[in-house]
């Protein structure tokens, strides 16, 4: 049985209890379910990331799991879930244990459960009542507020200035590579990219730094005979991006690509934010480990509304590798959701505002006649884009003489970035979704006479 005393004992510190107390509101949990007569309870809590955090607790031993990147164990979400159960057991509805909870349960079998003491003297200064106490707000000092605003403005201006200087450094570095020879760059690309990336970090151009740092692996992933071409394309995009940013440093889409991503609430509060409510299908998820140690979680959604112009959405989250394995969303899941898109001339990245089960199953819309048109259109707006989702019509996975695989139809063929399982080469693909980076296609999922295929 979950008690407040047990939660108090389990919490790592008072600050965690304080943070958890702010989440003990069922309204912040679009999902709050438990297994009838069973041991699992679970929920989804919207945090600052694109996807809500998934939290599960085993009631028998207070084992827990949360998908948030917090390094505190248990995190505030797990504590809050237990807290809600302790306070009001009836606020959880009955539900069927989802796959991600069962997978977590399977992985933790045999590991020790949490040792919970309930002795009041053993709380280490942690106190739930104190955490729940409402803080008295200090009266607002207008002068202090004005001073803080001015300081924030100055910091922002300084950051912009540093970023602009950083892009000029990047241009100079690119010029130097052209002058001394790209063969020298390609010979030592990992180290060279790392060095310039470090300078960009110093210039507060963290997103640009990450892009340059990862550029080496993108180039090296290609066959050697075309690496120089990709190097030219990547460097050319950096030049365009740097120039565009200097011309308009306050543009949110450019600022996001150079500096940092705006906070979730900023996107939600902006009056011009594109919001799309539709039935979406999760078509695939990629977890990519970056050189900086973070894991980038790309969750691709397909809009099943046949008439919508917004065909795709990307939910993008980052978390440290130490946060452990995350349970990916089930490819093929359909749900109704409102998405808010980050401002962009060609919106793609989005936030999940609200989600609920789809009333009925939807089908994929037809692929466009000219499958590359969306790519060209996106590129017109974002000539520095690294990859664009494509909706492909009927095709087949084929092989060239060197064993490399291609997605091909009658008219065209796109080289595949990753080999696909042999069996998929025996299937006609009615439709496919993939990410095209100008050189290779990363297949994400497909529809065939054999049903749905997932490639990532």
């Amino acid at each position: 049985m979950i008690t407040l005393a047990a939660i108090e004992s389990l919490a790592p510190d008072q600050a965690s209890l304080k943070a958890a107390s702010k989440l003990v509101k069922p309204a912040q949990w679009p999902v709050l379910l438990e297994e009838p007569n069973g041991k699992f309870m679970w929920g989804e809590c919207q945090g600052s990331g694109a996807n809500p955090y998934r939290v599960a607790v085993d009631k028998t031993d207070l084992g827990y799991k949360c998908s948030c990147p917090s390094r505190k164990f248990p995190c505030k979400h797990a504590l809050a879930l237990m807290w809600m159960k302790a306070q009001d057991p009836n606020c959880f509805s009955a539900g069927q244990v989802p796959d991600w909870v069962m997978e977590w349960s399977g992985r933790r079998r045999g590991t020790a459960g949490n040792t919970v003491t309930t002795s009041p003297s053993d709380t280490g200064g942690k106190n739930i009542s104190t955490a729940q106490a409402v803080e008295v707000e200090k009266p607002v000092d207008p002068k202090e507020q004005a001073r803080k605003l001015a300081a924030a403005r100055k910091r922002a201006d300084n950051t912009r200035a540093a970023q602009i200087a950083a892009t000029r450094d990047l241009d100079q570095w690119i010029e130097d590579q052209l002058r001394t020879g790209l063969s020298g760059l390609l010979d030592d690309i990992t180290q060279k990219c790392r060095k310039i990336s470090a300078r960009l970090v110093d210039g507060k151009a963290s997103a640009l730094a990450s892009r340059v740092d990862e550029m080496a692996s993108r180039i090296l992933a290609l066959p050697s005979e075309i690496r120089s071409e990709l190097a030219i394309a990547e460097l050319g995009k950096l030049v365009l991006l740097s120039q565009a940013f200097r011309a308009n440093p306050n543009d949110p889409s450019l600022s996001r690509l150079v500096g940092t991503t705006e906070q979730r609430q900023v996107v939600l509060d902006h009056p011009d934010t594109l919001r799309v409510t539709s039935v979406w299908e999760s078509v695939g998820e990629q977890m990519i480990t970056q050189r900086d140690g973070l894991i980038a979680q790309y969750h691709w959604l397909l809009n099943l509304d046949l008439d919508s112009d917004q065909r795709f959405a990307l939910l993008l989250d980052f978390f440290p590798a130490s946060a452990g394995k995350r349970t990916p969303a089930n490819s093929g899941d359909q749900f109704e959701a409102e998405l808010a898109f980050y401002p962009d001339p060609a919106p793609l990245r989005a936030l999940l505002v609200e989600r609920k089960p789809a009333a009925k199953a939807g089908v994929w819309p037809s692929a466009p006649q000219d499958v590359m048109k969306p790519y060209r259109d996106h590129f017109n707006q974002n000539p520095w884009a690294l990859s664009v989702p494509l909706h492909l019509g009927p095709g087949r996975i084929c092989e060239d003489g060197g064993g490399r695989q291609w997605w091909a139809n009658e008219a065209m063929a796109l080289s595949l970035a990753q080999p696909c399982p042999d069996v998929t080469m025996g299937m006609d693909l009615d439709m496919a979704i993939g990410l095209w980076d100008g050189w290779q296609l990363t297949l994400v999922s497909a529809q065939s006479a054999w049903g749905r295929l997932s490639f990532v």
Binding site: M102, L182, S228, A233, L235, D400, W406, A449
Partner: protein, 466 residues
């Protein structure tokens, strides 16, 4: 872009060379590009940006000589629905290869095959026939598609497991042709494949096979020799010319009166003196044929099985193995036709003979097998093989194993108890969907969380409706 594509490619190639070596690419660039770049602070960077865009956008060509594989053969059964595929993948993830194959057999009985992206059979896996074309495709042997029947000439065109299946079918319809093909081609196969091929002769085994089987007694593989010897024993030909082992085994036994007043004689085991004798007895049961033992006892095979002391479990187990391995089809049938024998046999004894029973016969014996106590149901899984997922709750609840299962279920609630994990996994393979649902409900009532992975097979069973 005003340049024709090949000229553009030429410009880009020369620009790339300039930059690779170091220096300006202005001389190699198209004139209109230079005109555009002249308006920019650093013209070289402008040329780089334009060239990069051109390289990425302009050249998406289809290479010549792309090959497509043949179509993946579409089996007759239904592919597992998309909604169940994630659960299937999760269910098989922790299973052994054998347990996975058993689940595959259960699915086939329900009319389903695994999606090829989720699971494909290994080359030598003993899978339901419906997977044979997929095995062949996987071995990249698309030529198989073109052959309607196996011959000695097209032997090499067939995938090994498909060959075995084809030989088996041929033994039913034309056993001598099958034997002829085997005679011509088996000798060139490695030992493990050769053994599987020779075993096919067990179908419709007859006098015409004796000469070939006798020739196999000189095979370089002991396994092949053992199979040949067993088949010859079934045909009442011991083949190896010596009966010393049979005589030794006979000496372990005696024919004595069943009772003081009885006229009937019974074949009994003499009391064993030590462990060495016990060990030797086991060896002899494994190596002596039923025919030779009968000869040594001056009995016919039929007389021998008529006079077994069925109360002696050691004798029953030893003879069950012997009958299963070397008894003729008629003897196996006669042995199992006796009610008192069936009642005396343990489930392990029955499993020793299960290979001698075809699908219909196994189905016939299933209620009787179910009447035997079974600790972990693993032997039931082995026996049922082609009929997995068919036992009803009514039949299971009446069986002696049900009560012990219920006791284990209560003992295992809320704690780790590996024996129960094995039981529940095997039950998931033998019960029908409704029975599986009943068991899940009982486990929930007993306090188990059926979301626990140990219930995966059982839960998957309930969702796999025919």
């Amino acid at each position: 872009m005003s340049e024709p594509m090949s000229e553009l490619e030429d410009h880009l190639s020369r620009m790339r060379q300039s930059w690779m070596m170091g220096g300006s690419a202005g001389a190699a660039a198209p004139k209109d590009w230079n005109a555009l770049a002249a308006n920019v602070l650093v013209p070289e960077l402008a040329l780089l940006a334009i060239a990069g865009q051109a390289l990425e956008l302009c050249f998406i060509n289809k290479p010549a000589g792309l090959e497509r594989r043949s179509d993946l053969p579409r089996p007759d059964l239904t592919v597992v629905p998309d909604a169940l595929r994630a659960r299937f993948r999760r269910t098989i993830e922790p299973l052994s290869a054998e347990a996975t194959l058993n689940l595959i057999r259960l699915m086939a009985n329900r009319g389903y095959i695994a999606h090829p992206s989720d699971w494909m059979p290994g080359q030598n896996a003993d899978v339901p026939d419906v997977y044979t074309p997929l095995q062949a495709w996987l071995a990249k042997n698309s030529v198989t598609q073109n052959h309607t029947s196996l011959t000695a000439d097209n032997w090499d065109d067939w995938y090994p497991s498909a060959r075995i299946k084809a030989l088996g079918q041929l033994r039913h319809t034309d056993p001598s042709l099958a034997r002829q093909i085997i005679t011509e081609r088996a000798g060139s196969e490695p030992a493990d494949k050769r053994e599987a091929i020779i075993r096919v002769l067990g179908i419709n085994l007859g006098e015409a096979d004796i000469d070939y089987l006798t020739s196999l007694l000189g095979d370089r593989s002991t396994k092949v020799k053992s199979v040949a010897k067993g088949f010859l024993a079934r045909l009442k030909k011991s083949g190896d010319g010596t009966n010393e082992d049979a005589k030794e085994l006979a000496n372990f036994m005696e024919l004595s009166k069943a009772g003081f007043l009885s006229r009937k004689h019974m074949l009994k085991l003499k009391p064993l003196k030590n462990k060495t004798q016990k060990h030797r007895l086991g060896e002899l049961f494994d190596s002596v044929s039923l025919y030779d033992l009968a000869q040594a006892l001056s009995l016919t095979e039929e007389n021998l099985i008529d006079h077994i002391d069925i109360k002696n479990s050691e004798l029953m187990s030893g003879l069950s193995a012997m009958i299963g391995q070397t008894g003729s089809d008629a003897v196996v049938t006669a042995f199992l036709a006796r009610k008192e024998v069936c009642e005396a046999l343990k489930i392990s004894d029955i499993c020793l003979m299960s290979d001698r029973l075809d699908k219909d016969k196994r189905r016939e014996f299933l209620p009787w097998v179910l009447s035997k106590p079974s600790d972990f149901f693993a032997r039931l899984v082995t026996f049922m093989k082609d009929d997995l997922g068919s036992i009803t709750f009514a039949d299971f609840s009446r069986s002696p194993s049900f009560k012990s299962f219920m006791a284990e279920m209560n003992r295992a609630a809320n704690k780790e108890y590996p024996p129960f994990d094995s039981q529940i996994a095997n039950l998931g393979l033998i019960l029908n969907a409704e029975a599986a649902a009943e068991i899940l409900a009982l486990c929930e009532q007993a306090g188990h969380s059926t979301a626990d992975p140990k219930f995966s097979v059982l839960t998957f069973n309930t969702q796999l409706k025919k």
